[in-house]
Symmetry: C2
Subunit: 398 residues, 2 copies
């Protein structure tokens, strides 16, 4: 995980950093005992022991009985298989790519900014180059990449394989994303909405593990949701379920990029937030607003609080309709924490059926900014033939 | 089906009437051949043949080889089993009770008005008396009733077994409905929201058969929805999923009985509709408004059209969130047909994600006013021990 993207010191980012340290040590030093790994990485023997158990379970390392210093010992080495999977998550302003041997075993990742309203071709070209770069750094070839999951920040019509709106992501209109990516990568490609993938990531590897009915809400440039119903990702009849961003909050409200008026996104999406601050604060980026709000800037706090209130109204509708156990807030805007969360919670309690509001718990994302790429890896793994061994390979993160 | 409740001449009500005619003929005349049934009922031989096949499949009749007029013939008679199930559907202004041998084989039904804001005790007493009456007319005793499904027009918290709101159905606040009914009826009781049950009825016996993702919307005094997701009724974490009536349409709108402002129900529920017409039309009942609108009264049409427009906004939200294949409109208000449907469809197309709007089909209810009692029978049948024979018994409808 890119430390600038993860809440520093969170349990998820620590575990992830430790996992990478162990994998990198094994790549650089070759087979080692657990004592040697602890010595080399500076991790405690208990941490190394837990991590090696996890990596062994997921097939990322191999254990072999041996003798060291005249005593019996178990040597840990990177597993030698070569099946790789990739996850690609397009944002409104960037693309992130992860290469792994399983959704839990990411061996490399990279991020690159994208211009606003970029064309699909440009985004897909950059993503393919990032992936090739990661593969080469891992000492592998693209032929080792057996499946790719791709997320885009727009509804994806599962029948046509295209963005399900003419105007939400204009550069991607009419593009058959899976076929286009497959042409570039020469591996099977699954395409889904990034909020769906983030929900899937949290379900399989994060805070939604074991949850029957949960909702992941991604707050970023836009706002979307992924629904976990009956313990699995719910995509609806044509793959576009979860479009909370285009719920109507006010029939006569501002015009949204989707063509409707008063969608939730016009109140909590980046365009609305930045427009509201333009005359008082001048041009800001979404990151600026987040930083200033956390630093106590009253105007930035206020627009986020108002956005939280509107979000709570929409979430109340979602709670009334679906009666979930857990709602997870993710995406970069969720980093402002209680500035959005408190007014959201107040609106939720005011607007939802009391028993439904009482039965829902609000949780923070565990995978944080990685939720969608992890979900993309999950969807890639689902494309592999049953029983295909997904084994660890060498790591190269510079 | 009470003919006054069913759209006259609809296929569902015709089939139902024919089924009753055949069952009543067998009760009154004893065993008959299919030719004799046709002669006695005036139905065509083909209709009788289809109906007998259906009744035989569901176990309501028994077929026995015999000789009539020197020729081989098959005698049809009522099956002699005695396991009965009952469905009870409370409305805001009435209660309907059905007695059957299966959800498809209703052998008697009755309806009784209830005062607005009645106390739960009064409603449950009346329902129990109606059920006892039906059982006695069928020549049976309450001991033959093995399970009862009960629907109430409010969210039901599956954990507490109570209405999930302090104010939606005030007369029922804090009442443990299943336990109370069980005390009166001495049989296992399942309690659910009537919209959920109507969806379940349409799923098992009506227009939602075979549908994976569908929504039943009940338009009556209030408005609610039942969700069919992945081919089954979706109740959410605590049983209250589907509460479309309390989606916020306008944060600053009229105060709703649930305590929130601007809920869909304040725009399309009976109170809002009747209030809007009070100054121009004087006091009307919901039935009056429906009748007058169908007769062309401009004011009544206008409030229903406006309600349809608001309904479409809420339904667009539901379509964005769940991306269903089918939406079914039921409940007495749905009888105005295109007066509500046309503006609703226009709002839906304007407000929903285009691909989600394009993939949903609007359908009319097939079970009509019976959808909820049929669903109650389905939920009752689910309480029976697996393998319990549900057989037909004598019919007595006066």
């Amino acid at each position: 995980m890119n430390p600038s993207q993860a809440a520093p010191g969170s349990q998820a980012s620590l575990r992830e950093a430790n996992r990478l340290r162990v994998l990198e040590a094994l790549r650089d030093q070759g087979a080692m005992t657990q004592v040697e790994i602890a010595g080399f990485t500076g991790l405690s023997p208990a941490t190394v022991s837990n991590m090696v158990k996890e990596l062994d379970t997921s097939g990322a390392v191999e254990l072999e009985p041996s003798i060291r210093n005249g005593r019996r010992a178990v040597l840990v080495s990177l597993a030698t298989g070569s099946t790789l999977i990739a996850g690609i998550a397009f944002g409104d302003r960037d693309v992130r790519v992860a290469l792994g041997t399983s959704p839990r075993d990411i061996i490399g990742r990279q991020r690159m900014p994208l211009p606003a309203d970029h064309a699909a071709d440009e985004g897909m070209d950059r993503a393919s180059r990032l992936l090739l770069d990661l593969v080469e750094k891992a000492g592998k070839t693209m032929a080792d990449v057996r499946a790719v999951g791709v997320g885009i920040p727009a509804p994806v019509d599962s029948v046509s394989g295209q963005v399900g709106s003419e105007s939400i992501l204009p550069g991607w209109r009419g593009v058959a994303v899976a076929a286009e990516m497959q042409g570039r990568i020469q591996a099977p490609v699954a395409v889904d909405n990034t909020s769906n993938l983030a929900a899937l990531g949290e379900l399989r590897c994060g805070v939604l593990q074991g949850v029957q009915h949960g909702v992941y809400i991604k707050l970023s440039y836009g706002v979307g949701a992924g629904l976990i119903l009956d313990g699995d990702l719910f995509r609806g009849a044509a793959g576009t379920a979860g479009e909370i961003g285009h719920l109507t909050i006010d029939e006569n409200g501002p015009v949204c990029r989707c063509g409707n008026r008063g969608c939730l996104e016009t109140y909590i999406g980046a365009r609305g937030l930045l427009d509201a601050l333009a005359s008082s604060h001048g041009p800001l980026s979404l990151r600026d607003v987040i930083t200033r709000a956390l630093d106590g800037d009253p105007g930035c706090r206020r627009v986020l609080e108002d956005a939280g209130r509107h979000l709570g109204v929409a979430v109340a509708g979602l709670v009334n309709l679906l009666n979930p156990e857990v709602i997870v807030l993710g995406g970069q805007l969720s980093r402002v924490g209680s500035i959005i969360l408190s007014p959201m919670r107040a609106s939720l309690e005011r607007c939802a059926i009391p028993s439904a509001a009482a039965s829902v718990v609000l949780r923070e994302s565990e995978l944080e900014m990685d939720a969608d790429v992890v979900g993309a890896l999950v969807s890639a793994a689902a494309l592999l033939p049953a029983g295909a061994g997904v084994l660890a390979t060498a790591v190269s993160i510079s």
